[in-house]
C-alpha cells in the first residue's frame, strides 16, 4: 500500500521523528527499525484520518503563492479563514501542502 510521508511534518509526526532520532542516535534503535516505524506511522495516520475523522472544513483566503510540483500542490494563503462546524480560525498566513489523493489508491 502506498503511503505519503506528508504527515510526518505534522505535530505527531515530528514528535515521532524526534523520538526515533534520539533513540537511534543513542543506539537503542537501529535505523532500519526506525524507518519501519515511520512507514507504519504513515499508514496508521492515513488510516485514522480516513476512518476516524468526519469533520469538514471550509477554507477561504487570498492565494499568495501556488505551486504544483511532483504531484504536490502547495498553496500559501494570506488572511485565511478556516471554518469548522463550530469553530472559525483566522490566520494571517498559512501554507497548505497537498499530495494527490489518487496516488494512494494506486
Amino acid at each position: 500500500m502506498a503511503t505519503f510521508e506528508l504527515y510526518r511534518r505534522s505535530t505527531i509526526g515530528m514528535c515521532l521523528t524526534e523520538t526515533l532520532d534520539e533513540m537511534v542516535s543513542s543506539g537503542t534503535l537501529s535505523p532500519e527499525l526506525a524507518i519501519q516505524v515511520l512507514v507504519q506511522f504513515d499508514k496508521s495516520m492515513t488510516d485514522a484520518l480516513e476512518n476516524q475523522v468526519k469533520s469538514k472544513v471550509n477554507i477561504k483566503g487570498h492565494l499568495h503563492t501556488y505551486r504544483f510540483c511532483d504531484n504536490v500542490w502547495t498553496f500559501i494563503l494570506t488572511d485565511a479563514q478556516f471554518k469548522n462546524d463550530d469553530n472559525t480560525e483566522q490566520v494571517g498566513k498559512v501554507k497548505i501542502v497537498a499530495c494527490d489523493s489518487k496516488l494512494l489508491s494506486q
Binding site: S30, Q40, S44, T65, W73, V91, G92, D100
Partner: protein, 515 residues
C-alpha cells in the same frame, strides 16, 4: 360511495407520495421506503386519517458512523424541528469501536421531552469541538503504530522495553507540544480499546453520560492551553537514511579498499612489488586510481590530511624537508640512489597515476612510508628547485610545497567553505588534478543547494512574518484543484491542520481562494 371513492383516491395519492419520497429522498430514501411498506401492511384502515394530517410523515434520518446506525425519527406532531441524530452523538470521530453507548442514548433520549433533547444537542455539539477528538485520534494512531510495529521489533530482536520507551517518549513529546492532553484522553482511549465500558452506565443517568463525556472533553482544550504549544518548525525529513549513508560512506570507503593494496604489497613486497605481474603498472592502474589516490595516498593524503588533521606531523615534517632541501644539491643524486628500488621513470611524470600508484603501494608499508615521504619530499623539493614558480601545475605535491613554502598564495580563494578548505586551500585555481576536480564539483554543489534553500527560507520567512513562532500548516491530500480566472477552488481530504498552535483534523475540506 362518493366518500369511499374519495378516500381511495386519497390513498393512491399518498402512496404515490410515498413512492416519490422513497425515490428521491436523498440520504433517507431507504427509510422512507421501508416505512411506506410497513404502513401499507399495518395501518390499512387508519392510514388515511393519520397521513392526511401530517402530509407524509417525513422521516429525518442521518447515517451515523458510516451508515451503520439508522434510526428513524418521526417528526413530532407539534411541529418540532427534526433532530439530526448525527449531532447527538458525542464522539463523532471516535473510532467506531464503541457503538454500545449509542443505542442506549437513543432509546432514552428520543422518548424524552423536547427540552431535554435540545439540551443534549447543545452539550454534545459543543463536545464535538475539535481538539479532544484530535487528541483521541492521535492516541489511537500512536497505539496503532506501536501495536503494528511490535512484530517488526520482534523480528529485529528488539525487546518490548524499547518499544515501550518509544511509546513513552513519543507521548511525552506530544504532551509537551500540547497535541494530546494527557491522562484524560489516555484513559479515554483505554476505555475505548477495552470496548467502551462507559456504555455500561446505568440507563437512568443516560442523559448524564453525555455530560460526563463532554465535561471531560471540555477539560481537554483547557489542558491543551496549559501546555504552551511549542511549534515544531524545522521539518526533519527522514534524517535517518541520510545519517545512515553518512556513516556508511566514511568507514567503508577506506576499509574496503585498503586491504587490497596492502595485501598486494605483502605479496609482491616492496616497491617493485606493485607490479609483479607486469613490469609497469600503468595499463592496469589508471582505473582504480580515483580511490587509490585518496586512500593510500601516503603521498597525497599526507598532503591533505597532514595539513588539516595532523598538525604535529606537519610541524615536524617541514624541518626534515628544509633540511633535505638544504642538502638538495644532492637531491638528484639521492633520487638516483633510489632508482635501484624504483623505476626511475616513475618519478618524472608526477601527473600520471602510474608512478603515484607505485608510490602508494610502497607507502602502505610502514617503513616504506617513511622512506617514501622522504623521497617525495626530495622529489618535490627537486621540482621546486627546477621550476620554483610554476609548480602549481602538478597539483598534489605542489600543494604540499605551497602549503609549506608559499602558504599565502593559493589559499586566498577557497578558504571560506570551512572543512573543505583543507582540501581546497592548496589547489590553485589554475590546474587541478582530476580527483580534486571531482571533489571540487561536489563542493561546488552546496552553494547551489544553499541557494535553493534560500528560496524555501523566503517562503518560510513570508509565512513567519506575522507570527514567527507559529507556523500555520495544512497537510492534506487533494482531490481536485481548479481555477477559473483568478478564482481557485480545491477539494482536500484527510488533512491535518496546525493553526494558531492547535491541531485540527478534517476529513474533507473545500477551499476557495482568490489569487
Amino acid at each position: 360511495m362518493a366518500a369511499a371513492k374519495e378516500v381511495r383516491g386519497r390513498r393512491r395519492e399518498e402512496e404515490a407520495a410515498q413512492m416519490r419520497c422513497a425515490g428521491g429522498g436523498g440520504g433517507a430514501d431507504g427509510q422512507c421506503g421501508r416505512r411506506a411498506g410497513e404502513d401499507r401492511v399495518r395501518e390499512k384502515g387508519v392510514r388515511g386519517e393519520r397521513r392526511g394530517g401530517v402530509g407524509g410523515a417525513v422521516v429525518e434520518v442521518e447515517s451515523v458512523v458510516g451508515g451503520g446506525l439508522q434510526i428513524p425519527r418521526p417528526r413530532d406532531a407539534t411541529g418540532c424541528k427534526p433532530i439530526y441524530i448525527l449531532s447527538l452523538i458525542p464522539h463523532l470521530s471516535r473510532p467506531p469501536a464503541l457503538p454500545p453507548p449509542h443505542p442506549l442514548l437513543f432509546s432514552d433520549v428520543f422518548p424524552s421531552h423536547p427540552a431535554a433533547e435540545t439540551l443534549t444537542l447543545a452539550v454534545t455539539s459543543a463536545a464535538a469541538m475539535a481538539s479532544s477528538n484530535v487528541s483521541t485520534v492521535y492516541i489511537s494512531v500512536i497505539d496503532d503504530v506501536i501495536s503494528k510495529v511490535r512484530e517488526d521489533f520482534i523480528t529485529y530482536g528488539v525487546g518490548d522495553a524499547v518499544l515501550n520507551e518509544l511509546q513513552a517518549l513519543w507521548e511525552m513529546k506530544m504532551l509537551h507540544c500540547g497535541a494530546i492532553s494527557g491522562n484524560i484522553d489516555r484513559t479515554k482511549a483505554v476505555g475505548a480499546s477495552t470496548g467502551g465500558t462507559a456504555g455500561a452506565t446505568p440507563p437512568v443517568h443516560d442523559l448524564n453520560v453525555p455530560y460526563e463525556a463532554t465535561s471531560e472533553e471540555y477539560a481537554t482544550p483547557t489542558a491543551d492551553m496549559l501546555f504552551p504549544p511549542t511549534p515544531l518548525q524545522t521539518p526533519i525529513q527522514t534524517p535517518l537514511p541520510g545519517t545512515d549513508a553518512g556513516m556508511y560512506n566514511i568507514p567503508t570507503g577506506p576499509s574496503d579498499y585498503a586491504p587490497s593494496p596492502i595485501s598486494d604489497v605483502r605479496n609482491g613486497m616492496v616497491i617493485n612489488g606493485a607490479d609483479p605481474k607486469t613490469g609497469r603498472p600503468s595499463p592496469y592502474m589508471p582505473p582504480p586510481s580515483p580511490w587509490m589516490n585518496q586512500r593510500p595516498l601516503g603521498v597525497d593524503v599526507n598532503v591533505a590530511y597532514v595539513e588539516g588533521r595532523e598538525d604535529p606531523d606537519r610541524g615536524v615534517q617541514p624541518q626534515p624537508l628544509t633540511q633535505d632541501f638544504l642538502m638538495m644539491s644532492s637531491g638528484k643524486r639521492k633520487r638516483d640512489e633510489y632508482p635501484g628500488q624504483l623505476p626511475s621513470g616513475s618519478f618524472v611524470p608526477q601527473q600520471d597515476g602510474s608512478a603515484d600508484q607505485i608510490v602508494e603501494f610502497a607507502v602502505s608499508k610502514e617503513n616504506a612510508h617513511q622512506l617514501w615521504s622522504s623521497i617525495m619530499n626530495k622529489q618535490e623539493t627537486s621540482t621546486k628547485s627546477v621550476t620554483p614558480v610554476i609548480p602549481q601545475r602538478d597539483g598534489i605535491q605542489d600543494d604540499y610545497n605551497d602549503q609549506f613554502f608559499f602558504p599565502g598564495v593559493p589559499t586566498e580563494d577557497y578558504n571560506t567553505p570551512g572543512e573543505s578548505a583543507e582540501y581546497r586551500a592548496p589547489t590553485p585555481a589554475v590546474a587541478t588534478p582530476k580527483p580534486r576536480n571531482d571533489e571540487g564539483d561536489d563542493d561546488d554543489e552546496p552553494p547551489l543547494n544553499e541557494d535553493d534553500d534560500d528560496d524555501d527560507e523566503l517562503d518560510d520567512l513570508e509565512q513567519g512574518e506575522d507570527e514567527p513562532n507559529t507556523q500555520h500548516l495544512v497537510l492534506a491530500q487533494f482531490d481536485k484543484v481548479t481555477r477559473t480566472k483568478n478564482r481557485w477552488k480545491c477539494t482536500l481530504k484527510d488533512g491535518i491542520m496546525h493553526l494558531n498552535g492547535r491541531d485540527v483534523l478534517f476529513n474533507k475540506a473545500t477551499g476557495e481562494f482568490d489569487f
